[in-house]
Symmetry: C2
Subunit: 271 residues, 2 copies
């Protein structure tokens, strides 16, 4: 089921849950002619505290599901999954992850060469961002912090809550004192807590989100011809799937995707 | 594979993760002659925010795994799973859950007939405790509160942390003002946060844990002859399984089970 050459084939986007919808939104805006399929593995989330083997197995199963749907390329929006999965082991379809584009954007941004990386325990332990950053520029100073409570706080909608500010202070105060000028939000949930994070780090620290950096690398791949652009003028399709499909998935999707949600279909799936 | 009549067959205990090990510990102490098999579904935890259908499917799959292991009865230590699963649909092996024993203990304890119930969103939404309590005594006043951040706080080991006290205050202050005298800890993780919970509710409010109440109902079933007691004098076996088996599972198991852990085997499993 290779649709690599079919320009009408959809782009597949995958996350452990709803966080990747923030990435999907950026892609929907950047690529108005493209069709999209999104899968949230809500029945098995979160990935961030699980073992590398389990995260890899889930990622492979989800990519297989997307491949069966006939996608032309896949985007792993989940940082924990991106940090454990190697595209080199999945040659059938081009796979983009959020690590490389995020690292590139941070390296381009920093002036004092001090970069913070926030992520789940799985992402931080994998050192995926550190390795990507150092391969771009060996003289960077990189400080990584696991922030395991940020995901439940974001999912509970506590983004403007004093409790979140307190927990952000606990996680990030050490980083503040290290004088970083750039910080990678290495989890799709963290942009939701941007205000609380900036309150601790200060507005002068640039926060890097994966979505936009990712859109640029897909754009590059399309311009180079390695992925076909959809030239059709027909209205595009947006299909959302969740392995545990419930009303809270749809209401979060509506909140995050805004007007795009009205044009989308949403359903359960299993694999 | 019915081992219902085989007194040497193990008792199966099931939880979504490590929380049920607190229940297993109580059972190991209450039944020193019995063999035990424990399964933590760590690859798919937590259950508390997932849909009833997904929780039911996971529970059935885990019970099937335990049945294949030849257990003589099963204990669902997870409140979220207990609240969604009906023993009536699984007649092959006797299944105990934590809801009925917890409700009985609370009803026996209360003097002013005002009972609080703390649980995950799935447990609170199911109204399983309310229904069980009202079937015992229709004149009870029951106040249920979902405490979704308690599980991540317990898993992060923040049981003695000011942040946990603050979040406990947020969840429980309304309950305090309702003048309850008894409160069910309706999630296997919550006993870990007992101190923070009592700090808000006051020491005069009795906290009900499921483990002991559950042990009493198994004892009753053994005395009535519906489950055979193990009369063997051989040293018993304790087998621990986790669907995502990693070092953090073993270290939490060692912490919770103490000396029993040295006598146990621990391994990964899939189903």
């Amino acid at each position: 089921v290779s649709n690599l050459k079919n320009e009408n084939a959809p782009i597949g986007v995958f996350d452990s849950g709803i966080g990747g919808l923030t990435v999907l939104k950026t892609l929907l805006q950047s690529f108005p002619n493209e069709n999209f399929i999104y899968v949230g593995d809500t029945a098995r989330l979160p990935y961030g505290n699980k073992s590398p083997q389990t995260i890899r197995r889930y990622t492979e199963e989800t990519l297989e599901f997307l491949k069966q749907k006939g996608i032309k390329c896949a985007v792993i929006a989940c940082n924990s999954a991106s940090s454990q999965f190697s595209e080199a082991n999945f040659k059938e379809i081009p796979v983009f992850n959020v690590i490389a584009p995020g690292a590139q954007a941070a390296q381009a941004q920093t002036k004092n060469k001090k970069i913070g990386v926030l992520g789940t325990r799985a992402t931080v332990t994998s050192e995926a961002y550190s390795k990507a950053l150092l391969s771009l520029s060996p003289d960077l100073n990189i400080y990584s912090v696991a922030c395991p409570l940020f995901v439940p706080l974001a999912e509970e909608g506590l983004d403007e809550d004093p409790i979140t500010n307190l927990i952000a202070f606990r996680y990030l105060n050490g980083l503040k004192n290290l004088n970083i000028d750039t910080c990678i939000l290495g989890c799709t949930h963290y942009p939701i807590l941007k205000k609380a994070i900036s309150k601790v780090l200060g507005d002068e620290v640039q926060l890097i989100e994966s979505g936009e950096a990712l859109a640029q690398s897909i754009e590059l791949a399309m311009n180079s011809g390695s992925i076909p652009k959809n030239q059709s003028k027909e209205s595009r399709s947006i299909e959302l799937f969740a392995t545990d499909h419930n009303s809270s998935f749809d209401s979060m999707a509506a909140r995050i995707l805004g007007a795009h949600f009205a044009a989308a279909t949403s359903a359960g799936c299993s694999y």
